[in-house]
Every structure is written in C-alpha cells, then in structure tokens.
Symmetry: C2
Subunit: 135 residues, 2 copies
C-alpha cells in the first residue's frame, strides 16, 4: 500500500507541475480565491499585473480589498451567484491599486474539501482607454 501511495504521489506531483506551467502559459489573468476566507490562494503574472502588485504581496491577502468600494461577504457572494448563473455576464469592478475597470468571470469548484473560486479577470476597454489608444 505504501508503494502504491508513493506511485500515486508521483502522479500527483506531476499535476502540480502541470498546474504551474499552465497558470503561466495561459494569457488569461487567473486568480484562485478561497471562498471561506475570501483570500487569494494563488494567481498568475497576468493577474498580478492587472491588480497592480506582485504575486508575493497579493497571495494570502483579501481578494475583495483589491477592488473599490466592495464589502467582502457581499462581493464573494456575488461571484458565487454569478458562477452558478450561465446566462449572466461577468461581474464588473474597479481595481483599488490602478483604478482599472475590470470584468471578472468566476468558476466555482471544490478542491480537497474547500470551495474555491477561479476568477478570470479582464481589463475592460473603457471609453477613456479606447480614446487614449486612438489619439
């Protein structure tokens, strides 16, 4: 049984590597949020650029705190409801550090017993940004 478990362990280590490689290879900005604590479990470089701080600072901090005028319970609840609703558009918010308008597309899943939100964040092309790009 020990040996079988070690073999499984090898296989699962493999998934950790795959997970890390894919997080960085994906061009989408991705953030994993622990639903119970509301804290950022992990995020990729694209996401830390949108939120405006490095991954070390952001990991373990409150996801809600990264957005303007949001209260934690409400914001996370909002994301959960949105994750379960196929027809709804993304949740929009403004980042606190860079005052950027973003759209958040959440997926809810359960890993090792804990509810987790995977949030794909996209910078919204606001009227201002478009104008700045055109001029």
């Amino acid at each position: 049984a020990q040996l079988a478990l070690e073999k499984d362990y090898e296989t699962h280590r493999d998934y950790e590597t795959r997970y890390r490689v894919i997080m960085e290879a994906a061009r989408d900005a991705l953030v994993l949020v622990d639903v119970t604590t509301g804290r950022i479990m992990d995020l990729n470089t694209a996401a830390s650029q949108i939120l405006g701080a490095d991954a070390e600072t952001l990991t373990g901090s409150s996801f809600t705190q990264e957005f303007e005028g949001r209260r934690r319970g409400e914001f996370v609840e909002n994301l959960i409801v949105n994750a379960g609703d196929e027809g709804s558009g993304p949740v929009t918010a403004e980042t606190k550090r860079g005052k950027k308008e973003v759209a958040i597309d959440p997926v809810l899943f359960r890993a090792a017993g804990d509810k987790t939100l995977l949030c794909r964040i996209e910078a919204a092309a606001s009227a201002e940004t478009v104008a700045a790009e055109v001029s």
Copy 2:
C-alpha cells in the same frame, strides 16, 4: 511518515483539480505532448475544437499526425527548439482534419521525470477567414 504522505497526497489531489479547472477555464487552446512518444497526453475543449476531433479520440494519439505533411521526429524537435528560443515566433502548421492554419507556441517542462511540451495553439486569421467574416 504514512500520515505525512497522506496529507501530501490530499494537497496534490487538490492540484489535479486545479489543473483540470484551469485547463477548461482558459480560453487558450492547450495541448500537452509527451516528448518521448510524441503523443497527446491531454488537451482542453478549445484545442479539440481547433484540431477538429473530440478529446477522447485525440488523447493518446500522435500530435504530429494532426498536421499536414509533418514528420514526427522533425516536428517535435522543431517545437523543442522553438520552446527554448525566446526570440523566435510561433511554429506555423496546417491541421489535417480541418485544414486550418494555426500558430503553435510551445513551452518545454519536466513533470515526474518526463519531458513534456505544453503547446498553445491559435487559429491564424487567414485572408480567407477575414474575407468571410467581413462579407
């Protein structure tokens, strides 16, 4: 030690779930290729749509065989060289099933001792496609 291993095992199961959720949430078409065998280890829905067959058919089949006029050793070797060369553009190829021009952006990594290529595939917007979209 057994207990510690079991705890690790739980953590690693978590990564398998994260890996699967992110594969599907990413909008990039992603394929994992075993470098030794040249076979597709895993791919997401976006990738199976570009390659023109379902994931079940494609998993375990030769990655090279999905492209027109490519020889395995050479094609995989090409992707490995490209993965190591920051300055080079993506590898271009034509899918066998749908005759689609695609650009492949590979990343080489080692998981559980085996060399693996993560290939991000993008459908190239050919002149024909653009014309069709405009009309």
